[in-house]
Symmetry: C3
Subunit: 285 residues, 3 copies
């Protein structure tokens, strides 16, 4: 149990939606500490929110409760869920937004240099199947005793997810929140393809505020030796250590432990004109 709750939404900052959620949480647990992850997720960008969450959750103390409300299906038959792992809890719609975090077997593996299953990739993407790996429990949120009433059909973030997170933060066990479930909606996480010549073909999975292109190629995927990175018709020789070193365009292992393409004092995304899904190839010199 922890009284630490994080919020990730696509609600923006103009309106009172986020504050209403915080009001509900603090009404149930006045001791809760609430941290905003981001409310600037692009509307309905489930994949973007899923990646964002996995760049943040590993840095929170054990037991933190992460609430994600990117929920285009609110009010439909999509399930609302809570998931516990050995290190964290998650409260979200069951729409794939936990795909990244639940693929991480141990949080520690999310940091650069740690071993990761994707190091062993050889060919096309493949989904991990249920049952869950050890220590993961999931419930469908069906016990309305822990919801705020009346429940708006359009704002489960306030009336269900925030209320559930607050009760969890007071120590109510996840099992109280609803019926156990044994599978979740996930989407295939992009993984680089290893080509016959030993090179890696990956893709851009996230573009940050600075215009850095974050790829699905993890540090442990990279061949050892002198590398050439090909992106948008350009070739970048070698990896830089930091954004301040290297040439105009540079490649480095960023703070999420993944290969990034960056531009010195500028936006690589803008200059290269590529977006999420753009291809990046890594080969030996």
């Amino acid at each position: 149990m922890s009284s630490l709750i994080t919020l990730t939404t696509d609600f923006g900052r103009l309106d009172g939606y986020v504050a209403a959620m915080k009001g509900v949480i603090l009404g149930i647990n006045p001791q809760a500490a609430i941290v905003d992850v981001s409310h600037e997720v692009a509307p309905q960008d489930i994949a973007g929110a899923a990646f964002l969450l996995c760049t943040v959750a590993p840095y929170f103390p054990v037991g933190a409760i992460h609430v994600v409300v990117v929920d285009p299906g609110v009010g439909t038959e999509r399930r609302a869920i809570a998931v516990s792992t050995p290190t964290a809890l998650f409260v979200a719609p069951d729409n794939g937004v936990l795909s990244y975090v639940l693929r991480l077997p141990h949080w520690g593996a999310a940091v650069p240099g740690a071993p990761h299953p994707s190091a062993a990739v050889s060919a096309p993407v493949e989904e991990e199947a249920a049952p869950f790996p050890g220590g993961i429990k999931a419930v469908r949120l069906t016990n309305s005793a822990y919801w705020r009433h009346p429940v708006s059909a359009t704002f489960h973030g306030r009336d269900i997810f925030a209320a559930i997170a607050a009760h969890l933060s007071r120590g109510v066990p996840i099992e109280e929140m609803g019926e156990p479930i044994s599978s979740l909606v996930t989407f295939p996480i992009p993984k680089p393809e290893r080509l016959p010549d030993g090179s890696l073909l990956g893709e851009v999975i996230y573009i940050d505020h600075f215009g850095n292109l974050i790829t699905d190629i993890r540090e442990s995927d990279l061949p050892r030796g002198e590398l050439v990175i090909e992106v948008a018709g350009r070739q970048i020789r070698g990896l830089s250590v930091s954004y301040a070193q290297g040439d105009d365009f540079l490649a480095l292992v960023g703070s999420s432990g993944r290969l990034e393409i960056a531009r010195r004092n500028g936006s690589a995304a803008e200059m290269l004109g590529i977006g999420v899904g753009g291809r990046v190839k890594v080969r030996m010199l």
Copy 2:
């Protein structure tokens, strides 16, 4: 008394104005929990801030202190005020920014499905006159012992409103803050007009981050039966339950308990080209 303080301003997020207010609050009450409602109110948009506040305040625990600094008249003769109700306290300039929240007789009535006085509307708008309804007290902030000194003529948010809120959060009674007053500046709250044929003529009072058009028509105002909603030359048949259901354009009762016009996975405001004040008509099929 509560140590929970919310902030609603038009200060934006670029500068240090909001943080300076928080520094003043935490200097007076280190235990204060501060929640940002929004700092993206359009500069000097008193009506927008007033509505925003009423979508948020009902969801906070009893005793929360809501500070609103949308204050084009700072440094003039406009009054600075504190208001207590049975469920909350407000600290703000006396410029109408509390118009919505003080019309709500009980916070609980702000949620969908609860009865609301406007259900009985018949014709043109009318102001409730002083004296205040039961349990509401208001003072003009004249006791400078509770201000931060020296007081900037341009930033009462930091030197008066934040300091007052912090002292209130430590339990100083509102009566200590200044002279009691018996009327406040308010603006007429838009209410739908019921036409002779039984249809309702309302207007858009707020546009949110998603481009949803929130109207002054409350759930309890709506006739029972099959409805047609007319807006910007379009007709929408029936109410949807959620944003994910219904056609391209849809009408529903949103999380503030009011009729909204929305566009599925898009911005209704942009597509319909209407803004605050745009007319919306509801009639029986």
Copy 3:
């Protein structure tokens, strides 16, 4: 010691960088209270962040810990530092971002009306030399026992600055964090020039969210008497007391204690077409 930590960065609000810093802080000190100053500093705008910090720090209680991560040199030889003064602590890269706050001999002097050294300016800018004024201590952050590991070469904000701030907030003395140093990188702080005819020639040092032009001319610099302010080919007669008084364009002493040029209900920056570095002259009528 204080458990109050503020954050000023150029990370924006889209990504998880700020939240990752907060997670690290709360993992080390669950009691820390964290306040965002701004995350919208223009990328790599060290001077802007330096000014912003000095408009905020004086309003926080004694002992607050201010973390600044505007750090274009991350991963290079630039030093990471912690600085303590009689009233506050700072954790930042050693790139000049503390130039403004460390020029203030006492925090109290930052408020309008208090005496300030720049009142005595006569001609060109001059740097204060080391050793530090009384009560200031600085260390280079070299003791990696207080960092988070592994340390990303691109995100010292998370792995070094946040971790150091959290340990400081638990009472670890600054001397533990690394080797004492006796000088810091600073940049010359703009000061107005006093011309032979007694008039003042200053410049715009910051433009806020409202488009107000904040100059380097402090209240104590201003001659007593009837003034004329010249900016962008316009003449403004006399000082206004507040934004709501005066003509279309107006000059006043703003909440930072400096001369500002503002436009009533609008953006002076936009209408006058001048930016940071633009000249402002003050002369006697």
